[in-house]
Symmetry: C2
Subunit: 271 residues, 2 copies
């Protein structure tokens, strides 16, 4: 096995929400080593200007490249929306995947015509999912809804209590009464609400598209196609780097990752 195949996959996000993507990648590609970077010192990106997000994304990509990754996965929707070109440039020859492209492709593959998108205010306002979907099929009918309360709910651990269900029911009310057939979860935190979302739609048949799963499948397919799969017969390692050590980090990280979190390293980026 050459050195490139055994290199880790780099995944980054503005914070720790992207660990849902790390989790999906670990499930799809259990032998791969992963280097995760969460920019916890500067989270959230969603409210920052495009220029600031691009600058931060380039810094992080250079860090991942310096760690000898073989692929970069943008787990952050805000970065995917406004900085994928910057990341691709900073990544040089390395393949770069992102949650918006992957989620969009997965939505198209469902064959459904009416597609709903939920995300943070920044992601929805960027119009990135809508734009990418229409680029692939301009006959689609797209309806979007920003759901700003879902990230704090997920971080509070309230994903299926009365407050969560009432909040989801307010946000998803419009989708319940129109013809939406598939719903893209356009935010790294949202996979935690999958079962509550199903509850809110109760008997309505709706396909839920998880961008984390979608980008993990895309990564596996790309690595296969380029003969870059890690063929070691043990489980891959996950190394977590964060730019600051936020409170409750471990508790939150374990919630998003769905398992115990290994060692966490602090990596300060230039300021």
């Amino acid at each position: 096995m050459g050195s490139k195949e055994s290199s880790p996959i780099g995944i980054f996000d503005s914070g720790i929400g992207g660990l849902t993507v790390a989790k999906a990648v670990m499930e799809a590609l259990p032998a791969e080593d992963i280097i995760y970077f969460g920019d916890t010192a500067r989270v959230p990106y969603g409210i920052k200007s495009k220029e600031t997000i691009q600058k931060y994304s380039a810094e992080i990509t250079r860090f991942l490249v310096s760690m000898n990754v073989k692929m970069v996965i943008i787990a952050c929707n805000s970065v995917s929306a406004v900085a994928k070109e910057v990341v691709t440039e900073a990544a040089g020859e390395l393949p770069v995947l992102n949650v918006i492209d992957a989620g969009t492709k997965a939505a198209i593959q469902t064959g459904k015509n009416q597609i709903g998108v939920i995300g943070t205010l920044a992601t929805v306002n960027s119009g990135a999912y809508k734009r990418e979907l229409l680029k692939r099929d301009d006959s689609l009918i797209i309806k979007s809804k920003a759901c700003p309360m879902l990230v704090p709910l997920a971080e509070e651990g309230w994903t299926d209590n009365e407050v969560a269900l009432k909040t989801l029911s307010i946000y998803l009310n419009g989708f319940k009464n129109n013809g939406v057939e598939a719903l893209i979860l356009g935010c790294t935190h949202y996979p935690l609400f999958k079962s509550s979302i199903k509850k809110v739609f109760d008997d309505r048949d709706i396909e839920i598209i998880d961008s984390a799963d979608a980008v993990a499948r895309a990564a596996r397919s790309r690595l296969k196609k380029t003969s870059m799969l890690n063929t070691q017969d043990k489980s891959g390692n996950l190394s977590c780097f964060v730019s600051d050590h936020p409170q409750r980090f471990r508790e939150l990280a374990e919630r998003f990752l769905g398992r115990e979190v290994p060692d966490i390293y602090i990596k300060h980026l230039q300021e």
Copy 2:
């Protein structure tokens, strides 16, 4: 009137929540000019390390000093908890007030013995209110509760709907059943929930202490004592500076300020 009396009051916060403090100061001191700085590029501070918060606070204080303010008010609980010494040093000769000291003094003045404190996770975990209260009266019984959902609720504009009331009822449940007689609102966003909090306590008699009002009263008293009141007979000006222009800024700012927001200037701090 000397030049110092006519100088503005500087108020700063990690974001725009501190506009509730600007509002309280404008009500208590209508003739004063105010320079407000919200570090919207780097909000939230609560999850950042002490060193980072201190560095940012010193930068902002130097900016306010360069704007010739006559007083610095720290509207941010996280800064008040970990950086008031740093701000005092950067402010040189200028008086520095902060929401924690002011809220604490106001709580003592109620004469109540059992005091509740609500705030963000960072403020509550810092123990700053508890420490300051016990320093003034070690016979007090203090009970604290972090309420992480209240900031996003306020920013979503959900301060009295079903979700807000249910959330408050979960957070305040402990206070309802113990002997708490006064409740400190230890976060700039919380004044927006005053009437909903009263609803949740329904017949329980509880005194609500708003740190924004408290620091405004403290500012008036300090300016009077030092003959530094602005005696102009027109309303003072409010100038708003932010380090980045976040989405929905104007809408949010108007909600916190309770009136139309004047011109907003972008002031980039060093990075």
